[in-house]
């Protein structure tokens, strides 16, 4: 046996680095950061690695915009369909880059303050970013899975980065155990779908596939439809763990509370958005709305099943997140529950995207979700930047009592935090409000157009939950401005990198809140081109 067989099997590898340029740039930057770190003196390490990371991310953003402007030509897939260039990917990639850049800015002062190895932290962050990008760009489940693993493994380490702190260790351990647990579910789902999509052709059994668009094409002819159902259910559980939807959210508060605050900021914004990217990529494109199929066809049944399950999950997620947040006394825990609730709001947009067969409407809904996640990322990172400053050495001061009366003693920090909280709450003129409006609007317009009462109900529940959330967001503002402090406290000096972060996030929150049109239009046009390109 025989070389000839090998040659016979050997398809031409479809290598095209142009299509994965952002991922390549970020990975190279990660390696460079490690090299620079190894050869630089300790004192300027933080600036060297931080600056290099920012440069790498900037380069990736440039590459992303280049792809966006059609720089790669008309090609939409590469590496034998492993990577797709559609604009779901590009818009998410931009969000990831923004999240990572802001995390680098927040962490620059933190790594010095805690005497942590800056180079390792920044290179792990860059690798995690590459992982997130891969999750959004994967045209094949193997890439989605690998991206998820790259992201997860980097995040496990980052969560445990303060090695001498037991809380950080435990957070890391919990994240690791439950993260790998959910990966196993996802993987089992992939395996079952791979088996379920085998097709009986006249020439014999044609093998199953893990290619997302292939899966969609084979749903109705698959030999073992029950396997597809089981696989989809398993993947739902796997992704549900990753984006912390109820009832798979139980790990979130512990992990978020224990992890170092800059890492928590990153985890709540980046991996969550990446989870959404992969989740939407897989479920919208592999199990799409079945236009022509009859109700008994597998594709229609799978679609109805996951959409129904997702709606229930969305309701649970919004409600659990908000209700449990009401009783939290720790700010990081409260923000963790709030992040669960926000995942629920974004899921409403996801359900809207799934409920339609119309390509334009679907891409509009996807754009709304991306916008929402971008808005959430900005306000969340900003809020955690402030929490980092207030918590100080060792992340000790994160109880609500630690915020009593700081309002006018640290005006910059507390006013910035108030803006972020109001935005999270959804007060007009902020990004949070606009995000909710666009997401709920998509859901309602689908609901009214198709007579789908479920979507309307989702929006109503979302609005009710917003009303509930008034209480706890306001509670923190009340603590900062209206309460008196009994213990001694001096305002922390705000270092330059944090000032920049706060300025960027505050401006971003107001920009997205007041002039969201340009950004939404950009995401939308992108989504539409994506759909037409892929057809």
């Amino acid at each position: 046996m025989n070389l000839s067989l090998a040659f016979q099997l050997m398809a031409q590898p479809d290598v095209n680095f142009a299509l994965i340029l952002p991922e390549v740039i970020v990975s190279i930057a990660g390696v460079l950061v490690m090299m620079v770190d190894a050869f630089s003196r300790r004192a300027d390490q933080r600036w060297a690695t931080g600056g290099l990371s920012l440069a790498g991310l900037l380069g990736a953003a440039g590459a992303c915009l280049w792809l966006w402007s059609g720089g790669a030509g008309e090609r939409v897939t590469a590496f034998n369909g492993m990577v797709v260039l559609d604009r779901l990917r590009l818009s998410f990639t931009l969000v990831f880059i923004i999240v990572s850049a802001l995390t680098v800015l927040i962490s620059m002062i933190w790594v010095e303050r805690e005497r942590l190895p800056a180079g390792e932290f920044h290179s792990l962050l860059l690798f995690a970013t590459a992982g997130m990008m891969l999750m959004a760009s994967g045209g094949d489940l193997v890439i989605v899975f690998l991206g998820l693993e790259v992201l997860s493994i980097a995040t496990y380490v980052m969560a445990g980065f303060r090695r001498t702190d037991t809380r950080s260790n435990e957070s890391s351990l919990k994240y690791f155990i439950l993260g790998s647990f959910s990966s196993a579910f996802l993987l089992y789902g992939i395996a079952l779908v791979y088996g379920g999509t085998a097709v009986n052709t006249p020439g014999g059994i044609s093998a199953g596939t893990t290619n997302i668009s292939e899966i969609a094409a084979r749903l109705d002819d698959g030999m073992y439809p029950p396997l597809i159902f089981a696989g989809a259910a398993m993947m739902l559980v796997g992704f549900g763990f990753k984006i912390a939807t109820a009832p798979f959210h139980v790990w979130t508060p512990d992990v978020y509370e224990g992890a170092p605050t800059p890492v928590t900021a990153f985890m709540a914004a980046g991996p969550k958005a990446a989870g959404f990217a992969a989740f939407m990529r897989v479920f919208l494109f592999a199990f799409p709305f079945a236009v022509a199929a009859t109700g008994t066809a597998t594709s229609a049944q799978v679609h109805a099943a996951w959409l129904g399950a997702l709606s229930v999950i969305a309701i649970l997620t919004m409600t659990v997140g908000n209700v449990v947040a009401l009783v939290q006394r720790n700010v990081k825990r409260m923000l963790a529950y709030s992040s669960i609730a926000h995942a629920g709001y974004a899921l409403v947009g996801f359900v809207a995207a799934g409920a339609t067969g119309d390509a334009t409407q679907q891409s509009d809904a996807v754009a709304a979700v991306v916008f929402y996640l971008l808005a959430y990322a900005l306000m969340n990172l900003g809020a955690f930047a402030v929490v980092t400053m207030i918590a100080r050495g060792g992340d000790r001061r994160t109880e609500i009592e630690d915020y009593y009366g700081i309002g006018f003693r640290a005006p910059v920090l507390s006013f910035a935090l108030s803006i972020f909280l109001l935005s999270l709450l959804g007060v007009p003129l902020t990004a949070g409000f606009m995000g909710k409006v666009v997401v709920f609007r998509e859901a309602l317009s689908q609901g009214f157009a198709s007579g789908n009462q479920l979507l309307v109900a989702l929006v109503v529940i979302g609005v009710l939950n917003t009303a509930v959330s008034v209480y706890y967001y306001l509670g923190l503002i009340v603590a900062m401005f209206f309460r008196e402090r009994t213990t001694e406290w001096s305002a922390p000096r705000v270092p330059a990198s944090i000032s920049v972060t706060l300025a960027l996030t505050v401006l971003g929150v107001f920009y997205l809140g007041i002039f969201p049109g340009r950004v939404i239009d950009a995401f939308r046009s992108v989504q539409t081109t994506a759909v037409t390109r892929l057809k």
């Binding site: 099997l9 193997v142 899975f145 690998l146 693993e149 493994i153 496990y156 380490v157 445990g160 090695r163 001498t164 702190d165 037991t166 809380r167 260790n169 435990e170 957070s171 890391s172 351990l173 919990k174 690791f176 155990i177 790998s180 647990f181 990966s183 196993a184 993987l187 089992y188 992939i190 395996a191 079952l192 791979y194 088996g195 085998a198 059994i205 044609s206 093998a207 199953g208 596939t209 893990t210 512990d254 509370e257 224990g258």
Partner: protein
Amino acid sequence: MIPLSWYLALSAVLFTIGAAGVIIKRNAISMFMCIELMLNAVNLTFVAFSSHFNDVTGQLFVFIVMAVAASEAAVGLGIIIAIFRNRESLDVDEASILKL
């Protein structure tokens, strides 16, 4: 030859045992081993499908999964060592600052 479904059933049983183990076990290393068992169950599914369909993709996937499992093992054991250094115990209930 054995029908495909036997292998699938076997792997489902192994997966369930692994998942149950994660929930029952309270030692971090044992939990980690249960997760490895779950991954192996998935691998069995892949290999069974692959040889059934006469398609190499499933085995390639298994190869990737093994690499992932190895990386997870390295990082997971690193975490376990770090936590043991600080706490001298791997019992996830014991002295847990954060509730699980």
